[in-house]
Symmetry: C2
Subunit: 338 residues, 2 copies
DNA sequence: TTAAGGAGAGAAAACCTTTTCTCACGCGAT
DNA sequence: ATCGCGTGAGAAAAGGTTTTCTCTCCTTAA
């Protein structure tokens, strides 16, 4: 049913082929208006046969809905926005909505250009996403003529913001360690100026108590390695579990422990954060890790911006999505519900 | 200069405000038609003042150009399409073109849906991208009404395909090792059924000679680790350099060497492939690695599809873009040109 | 038999922009 | 004085849909 010419088939062609007027054709295809059941069926059948697909530009011009949204991110290479994007795309494709990807590094001018390009193209809404929860994108989205949803980046005053519940995730991890019988749980994590770091740390503190100081550092293997070095260099009792601020740190921790002949998980349990498959699953032993559910976050962001675009109300504020614990072999025990 | 009402400002508003007709306004703004210089300036000034931006949908309806292209990928989480995407976006934003990101896992139905959605939205062209050069996307793009460019995935018969020159990249790496005085260079790499693997291996063979067998395995740290184990378990002379099929394998190799007390780069040089920052830069010591220039590839793909969309001819066939060697500390020596 | 009403379908406007065509006017040349 | 022409600017069509309005029949009830 391809059309041999290069010209796209329009509703005019459908109408002509079916021997009806354009308006009747349109109403038939959209299940609107009044007409004989037979006519409606015939139009639909013929439309299918000649491969008619409505021109979204024309439709959008009239309906003020382009079935298009923009995804703005400054996390070009990062592992955070990637699953978020996948989630957004997945949630919206069912609704016929396509996603403009706009990678603005940290360049305000570039951001501005992208936003304007999106508005020119009449996007129905914008999702702003980033690489950390407590930083803004370098572009002001607060007074746009379209709805904006923030996902994994800080939003403005009365905006809708979606984030993972890091405190709950941290609690999940530490409680799991406690349940396994660990009593001396250390926490090696990233820079203290990250909001997530502070949130995870205080949840850790709540559950694990004051037995070990929180160790702040950088988001790198080397820091995990080094921190273990300094803990084991000190005199006194050693931890029987280490809760790490991310998987890379955990990886460094595991390496450092192994170098000392300490067995994982028999002597020390290790838990990571992020559940970054490529690291967590390939560490020896594979890492138990907290998954922030970023894909789910993306899906939620997509549905939310869609709701706003359709005029359905959405309560503004910060919405936290739960994390889950992915159990592998680095801390013993078999399932988080056992 | 915001407009207080929610209504978007159209060229009607500009015309009214400037006291001219719509056609005159349009011609003034597009620098077409004939009119007094003063009129033209006044229209432009007023358009700027009231914040007029032309509606791309309406423009596209008429011009048959939507200034929109689609990027199809099945590498949702992968590290390959990510830089490709960044390159595409970067190249096209200057031309006012926005990019639809379509993540089709490996699902033909999903692919079909996305392609149809893109065509409905009148994309000017499509870039297909994947996670390996010798696999097709699970969707047929061979007879679409818009131009298609393949980047880092296999294209169809008479298509334009962009890929990295893996043979040249491998040669670069091995020649570098030779220049450093290494004579017994091993090659530990991925599965032999990857085209890139075979290509890299034969380039390796050309330069390094027949002194060590190529060791095929899987794309994982564990394989690098294991391969070193088996090499060092064998009797006979040991390699003084190892060229790895990717950075993860290299990472496993480095770990295994260190466990044996072998110094890097003093005793053995190691080179990786992919230059995956997050792995290469954080291995101890940081890995020298071959960079496939994926961002450049993306940029090139963007410009190519744009050229096709504008009717400028592009020679079909496979175009290989050069790799470059990123020198870090894992093989000694300081710069690839020294 | 006629008026009312409903069913089926088409005409036309609207969305916003670009482009082609037409028109009016003034000036220089005949 | 008239013709032609160049200049400045507006009218209208086009692009593909959707939607409202209108029109024509036909049926049914009075």
């Amino acid at each position: 049913m391809d059309n041999p010419t290069n010209k796209r088939v329009t509703i005019h062609d459908v109408a002509a082929a079916a021997g009806v007027s354009i308006s009747t054709a349109s109403k038939a295809l959209n299940n609107t208006g009044r007409m004989g059941a037979e006519t409606r069926e015939r139009v639909k059948r013929i439309a299918g046969e000649i491969g008619f697909r409505p021109n979204a530009l024309a439709r959008g011009l009239l309906s003020k809905r382009s079935f298009t949204i923009g995804l703005l991110t400054n996390d070009t290479y990062g592992r955070f926005t990637l699953p978020v994007m996948a989630g957004v795309s997945e949630a919206l494709v069912d609704h016929g909505v396509s996603v403009f990807l706009c990678a603005i590094e940290d360049d305000p001018a570039l951001g501005q250009i992208h936003v304007e390009a999106m508005l020119d193209k009449q996007v129905d809404g914008i999702i702003a996403s980033g690489k950390r929860m407590d930083r803004r994108l370098p572009v002001d989205l607060s007074s746009l003529p379209v709805p904006v949803v923030y996902a994994f980046t800080e939003g403005t005053e009365n905006s809708v913001t979606l984030r993972s519940d890091d405190a709950q995730g941290a609690r999940l991890a530490v409680e799991w360690l406690v349940k396994l019988g660990r009593r001396r749980i250390a926490h090696i994590t990233g820079p203290q100026d990250f909001f997530s770091v502070r949130e995870r740390a205080s949840a850790y503190r709540e559950v694990a108590g004051d037995v070990e100081p929180v160790r702040y550092g950088i988001w790198a293997e080397s820091w995990g390695h080094e921190a273990v070095g300094s803990i084991w260099a000190q005199p006194g009792e050693k931890p029987d579990a280490i809760f790490c601020g991310n998987d890379q740190i955990a990886r460094g921790v595991v390496d450092a422990l192994r170098e000392r002949g300490i067995r994982i998980p028999e002597d020390v349990s290790v838990v990571g954060f992020d559940n970054w498959e490529i690291v967590a699953a390939h560490t020896r032993p594979p890492l138990t890790s907290v998954d922030m559910g970023l894909k789910e976050l993306g899906r939620e962001a997509g549905l939310t911006v869609l709701a706003l675009a359709e005029g359905r109300g959405v309560e503004p504020g910060v919405r936290k999505l739960p994390c889950r614990l992915v159990v592998r072999q680095s801390c013993g025990g078999m399932s988080p519900t056992e």
